[in-house]
Symmetry: C2
Subunit: 159 residues, 2 copies
DNA sequence: ATGGATGCAAAGTATTTGCATGAGA
DNA sequence: TCTCATGCAAATACTTTGCATCCAT
């Protein structure tokens, strides 16, 4: 329970190439949209909403239709390359699913989202519940909300 | 960590009256809409979306405008009588906030939502993180997804 | 009668669908 | 060439806003 490790997304170009190659082998097309969206997720962004994603892409000079983005997200979710997360404000966000399961520290002030791991976090709890009430666990989501170190350091006057 | 208690919402009429009286004393009006919405939450429903809530009300023969419902929810959230919960499908649900903080077991098959408590669940974890990285915790949300006992018992053919 | 509460219409935002067209492999 | 992928328009779903009216106290 006392085992929290901060996740660091390493924006490995190698990762990108490996994923591209895997998709190609599986018979999917590597269109410019797909590459752009995947690169964006792989670059270590915080979870993004669709409007945010569209803005990011257009800022980079990439013009993509929103319908295409929604469909691309469906595709990537199905391939388990990204996942949807909800952080309490009613918006759907999407983030790169780099191997491990992890959770979020959401700053309610600056809205920054930090990812971190909790090894074997709720395993024993889930096992106990399974034994007690025949509930088969598939997944869980755990989000923490509070004020981050940066915002804690900022004095009222300095805002 | 091994302390899970199932929550049971007791639809106490007394609770309803106490809340009504409190609101009245604070200078808020007890309109028929307010009473109906509050009674619905107090009757021990699972978390509901606004459309679900509107349907429930109209089934009971209560005609309320959706705008009014949204505003009533705002009001009740401000008064900390209900809270918004997100259960992974992108929809906002609302539930009665009966004193205690609790979590949810969401069945992905039948969509049933069970509430339960975890005493001192993540307290020690939060304290550790606070010490490590100056993050001030305000709240957290924890949801479990899986197959409930009922759905586990149902054979494929019986569906 | 006063001000909180309501209803209605309209606008705003997020997401999905149908269909014709475009472009990787 | 053969489909997967895309764009566009429109539909759907959810939520918010402005304003006139209502009604609980």
């Amino acid at each position: 329970m006392t085992d929290a490790t901060q996740l660091r997304y390493t924006p490995l170009v190698a990762d990108t190439e490996i994923i591209f190659e895997r998709l190609r082998k599986e018979g999917f097309r590597l269109t410019s949209t797909r590459k752009a969206v995947l690169r964006l997720f792989l670059s270590g962004e915080s979870p993004m909403t669709v409007p945010e994603l569209l803005l990011r892409l257009s800022t980079e000079g990439i013009s993509v239709n929103k319908t295409t983005v929604y469909r691309e997200l469906d595709f990537l979710i199905t391939r388990k390359l990204i996942r949807e997360v909800q952080l309490g404000d009613g918006l759907r966000r999407y983030e790169y699913l780099k191997g491990g399961h992890h959770h979020h520290l959401v700053c309610v002030k600056c809205k920054n989202i930090e990812c971190f791991e909790m090894k074997a976090c709720l395993k024993e709890f889930e096992e106990q519940i399974t034994a007690e009430k025949n509930f088969t666990f598939i997944k869980h989501s755990l989000e923490f909300f509070g004020i981050c170190a940066l915002c804690n350091g900022v004095t009222e006057s300095a805002r």
